[in-house]
Subunit: 203 residues, 2 copies
């Protein structure tokens, strides 16, 4: 059995994967969103792109068996298995320091954007100057027919998991989203909003 | 009356605007998509972001009177007037050289991505290392309830126009999309697909 690793609540972690490796993301408490990025290990500019993925698939998100694409329109990760309701988010940015400034937070607040930068710095991989759009695992933001976007709690249950397979040598960053503002219109990490740790395995 | 400028078919152009300036984009033939980017004139990393715009508005696109936001979640352009059916595209990437490679084109093909780089170089403004997601004016790509994205011809008529107001000093790039492949599933620039010139005025 592969080792189980933790992404502590509010924090990020970089994971180096070889082509063909699998990563299992475990929503230990069922309520926690992970923001996820992937970069070609040999080219920091070739990152996973939500908009190129939509273009290549002509769909908002991959189905099981389909890949996410990079800015060079090459597969980087395949959605290999999904033991969750399959509700993930591909339209919106990571939370970043500007989100918390816009929301009136005084002083420092952890953010997925800062978690990305720190995680890449921890392995000496060049961090991009702006936070690229992530794949937001288990984040539940439906669009209605007028194009309005709602923010709902994750539909996943404790222990639900999602498996991705690397299609090239790549660096993945996982951020256990630290959004915890008391805002009934944004129950991103569940109705109580307490950021939790998540777990992952690699094989 | 302000001067009328042309963006030649298949080409791009950079336009430097001051806060409060207006730009009127004219779909001269009704069938031509413009890919558009905006950058803070004083910070090339602070560019217009389709995903931050969706987050700030909780909607896929601004309505008339609402802004597009940057990566720092500040307004950069306001959708000031829209004398077109108001159908524009905010989910997909620009066409880039990788699009044409993926489609089997041999040799060089103009692309909105290359037009962006050249237009910025022409005014000595630093071009980003990857093509940021553009606002695709008049591009008509509806999503269905299964999340599938269709490509339809623009719904605009000859002479339709869309006006944006600058909310900060900024550099705008317009690209008259050169997509012209004989692909019945992607009538981006109209059913006959012949790239055309478009026009604009600034005041």
């Amino acid at each position: 059995m592969p080792d189980v690793h933790e992404v502590p609540a509010r924090q990020g972690k970089a994971v180096q994967m070889s082509s063909g490796d699998h990563i299992k993301l475990i929503n230990t408490y069922g309520t926690q969103v992970i923001d996820m990025w992937a970069f070609n290990a040999n080219d920091p500019h070739e990152m996973m792109s939500m908009h190129h993925t939509k273009s290549m698939l002509r769909r908002l998100m991959p189905r099981v068996g389909e890949p996410f694409y990079t800015y060079k329109r090459r597969p980087i990760l395949t959605l290999f298995e999904d033991h969750s309701p399959g509700i993930h988010e591909t339209l919106l940015p990571a939370c970043d320091k500007y989100r918390y400034i816009a929301d009136g937070v005084e002083g420092y607040h952890d953010s997925c954007g800062d978690n990305l930068t720190r995680a890449l710095e921890s392995i000496n991989f060049p961090a991009p100057p702006v936070t690229p759009q992530p794949f937001q695992v288990w984040m539940n933001c439906p669009i209605n027919s007028d194009g309005e976007i709602d923010y709902l709690p994750p539909a996943s249950q404790p222990g639900d998991y999602t498996v991705l397979r690397a299609e090239m040598d790549c660096v993945i960053v996982l951020s256990a989203c630290p959004y915890d503002l008391d805002n009934p219109n944004m129950p991103i990490n569940g109705p109580n909003g307490e950021p939790k740790e998540v777990h992952y395995e690699v094989w």
